[in-house]
Subunit: 411 residues, 2 copies
């Protein structure tokens, strides 16, 4: 008998807006798996395909918990993990059979590799003419850099993010964690849904192919910098934690060595901040009574807030300014986040069962849908945990063949 | 006669995956308008509603070009600009008539304000039971902070972004431009499409209400930090431009005072970097021959690259390392971006006609769809430029009434 590795809670009707959609996910890294995680969170059936002889890099990444990385538990959540060797023709055949009844295929190979595998869009569409194909890459499917190796950090360097982060007299900076990748993940999920919408609206639809690059997803976050440079000669350089266009906006240190952010542009909000720190006379101070004058007196306005904040605890600062409806926030570490009353009230972190009795904390499903809420069902599965479900129960492979495929390293 | 303010290129069949969708956009700021911009880019009809007596803050923001901010030209692109005073009952009636045939309504009022206007979801659904409502806010529709004033920078402080950015011995940092807002914009566009998909799949659909917060959109970018802290005690603190989990990954200064990023985690890629800088012997150096040992010798591995890069020009560094398929990228300003051959080849920046003969540069439509590409048609319109189109041509308001509404400040 074939032992089923499918956890019992995997079974049952899927809920959420995307229930009924089937997605084949060939991807690894952070970006594309973030796209398919969003789809799975909202009820899509996502089948994550992994090489049987080489675990997905998200399993072997940092933060190992019982032999698997936290990245896999997170990005693999709500997905079915199967193994399939795409260097074996039987593996390719099985993939093609899965594609026959799928809505979406997601890949993040280096441009050209899908073609080299004999799985270019034309071939995939000959199997399933309505298939939506998301091709996520670092630089896009064509152009001079298309086949350059890509990391999110390189994209952050070239898209303007690093250039606008850091002190004015220091080097450009990267954050300590990936930004470009999960950002592209959000955009990829949108793109898939937009393409599906287009498909449904057109009886003669030819399957859509989406070319999404990390570079374009990240570059789009810069707002109108290209326009401002072209029309006004403005270059958004590093400005510390200040804004190049309004003040106050900075990080300030409290007397208990914590940090808070104040950010205000409208005059009425700035006035609330002055009132809150007991300096109502500053509302009429010519240096601070208009956005333009405040921006011409950056050091002075920062000094007003910095000196007051330096004499108070973070809790005092937050309480005092919040009570005045001023725009203040504490700088939170993950430890602070896990204790915050608003994060708790909104249940922004859930504890999810995983293999071997683990219980893992992760972000809950976003955003919240009133009628068809998404659902956090399970953490990333073990390798091949859903092989039986897909190969035996769905494709109808018999016990003998299943064992043979396993022995031959095809699954 | 009513003078039509609709530019001639506004007319004609809309293309793109979302052609035929109608979106009423009551929002301002960066986040929600970014969501509706994505929809408009892919062919949706987006009607942006503005108070006749008070321009959208995106018009009055920084980077004024001919009296309008670059932000409006960008975020208002491909949208129809109409004016409507929602404090006047006639304004509310006109809005309700537009909603009758709309698919989506987007708002980013402070939670409770839509209700105070008598436009809570129940009312909107009594007009159009299938309406999808995106409610985008700083902190979400409920919880202790729900009605606190929100700025993207405050969200960046509380979501862990600032905490993980900056030097280890320095304060947390914000980038000089908004990140949380456009990130939430991507997620909002996905959410709208997911809700529309759910609506189409269910004949008994009750209109969806989406509760999306900047805080949750940004917090979700942190990856498995909650899990890593809970299970392993790991706190992702500031680490300069290094990664807390792999090396090399840093910003390095060249001998012509530019900066490049090197980022590599897999051993074969690191080895390519060593080869490229003429140090093949380091591939076997016990300090650098595994991810773990490299991570234990952070200063040493940074010194290897920093010292070589400090003796070469940025162009030399890039050419040499790219030729070896090593993972390197230049740190680009917007000026560099506008000149880069890959940005040019991919046409990542387009020049768009705007009012008064302006020609404005902005990001092209992302991502690229092969069958139904999106289209950049026009930059943000002047105030009320599409009033005639919507109030007269669509709702059938006669000339006399149109003038009266204008005189009374309703439109």
């Amino acid at each position: 008998v074939i032992e089923t590795a499918v956890p019992s809670d995997n079974v049952g009707e899927s809920r959420g807006s995307l229930a009924g959609l089937t997605v084949i996910d060939l991807s690894t890294g952070i970006a594309a798996p973030s796209s398919t995680m969003l789809l799975a969170d909202h009820g899509a059936t996502v089948i994550s395909v992994e090489r049987p002889d080489s675990p997905n890099m998200n399993r072997t990444a940092a933060w190992q918990i019982d032999g698997t990385s936290a990245w896999w538990y997170l990005l693999g959540r709500n997905k079915y993990a199967i193994t399939l060797n795409l260097k074996d023709s039987r593996g390719i055949e099985l993939l093609k059979r899965l594609i026959e009844s799928a809505d979406v295929l997601v890949e993040n190979f280096r441009p050209g590799k899908l073609e080299a595998m004999g799985l270019e869009p034309k071939v995939l569409h000959s199997i399933n003419s309505k298939l939506i194909i998301l091709r996520l890459s670092g630089w896009g499917q064509d152009g001079p850099y298309a086949t350059n190796p890509a990391y999110g950090s390189l994209v952050e360097a070239m898209s303007g993010l690093a250039y606008g982060t850091g002190d004015p007299d220091g080097p450009p900076m990267l954050s300590s964690f990936a930004i470009a990748d999960p950002v592209a993940g959000y955009l990829g999920a949108f793109a898939i849904m937009a393409a599906l919408w287009g498909r449904e609206r057109d009886a003669n639809h030819a399957g859509e192919v989406i070319d999404l690059s990390l570079l374009e997803a990240q570059f789009n976050l810069l707002g109108p910098q290209a326009m401002a440079y072209d029309a006004l000669g403005a270059v958004s350089a590093r400005f510390g934690s200040r804004s190049p266009t309004f003040a106050p906006r900075n990080v300030y240190r409290t007397n208990d060595s914590k940090y808070v952010v104040i950010s205000a542009s409208a005059q009425n909000i700035v006035n609330r901040c002055f009132d809150a720190i007991g300096r109502p006379e500053l509302c009429d101070d010519p240096r601070f009574c208009s956005p333009e004058s405040r921006h011409q007196n950056l050091d002075e306005i920062d000094e007003v807030f910095a000196s007051w904040i330096a004499e108070h605890s973070a809790q005092d600062v937050i309480n005092t300014l919040r009570a005045a409806e001023a725009t203040v926030a504490p700088v939170y570490s993950i430890e602070d986040i896990l204790r915050d009353e608003h994060f708790l009230y909104r249940r922004m972190i859930e504890t999810v069962p995983a293999q071997d009795g683990l219980a893992l904390k992760m972000q809950s499903v976003v955003p919240r849908m009133a009628q068809r809420p998404g659902q956090l069902k399970w953490a990333g599965e073990g390798m091949g945990a859903s092989n039986v479900r897909w190969f035996v129960e769905r494709l109808g492979i018999d016990e003998h063949e299943f064992r043979q495929l396993k022995r031959d390293g095809v699954i």
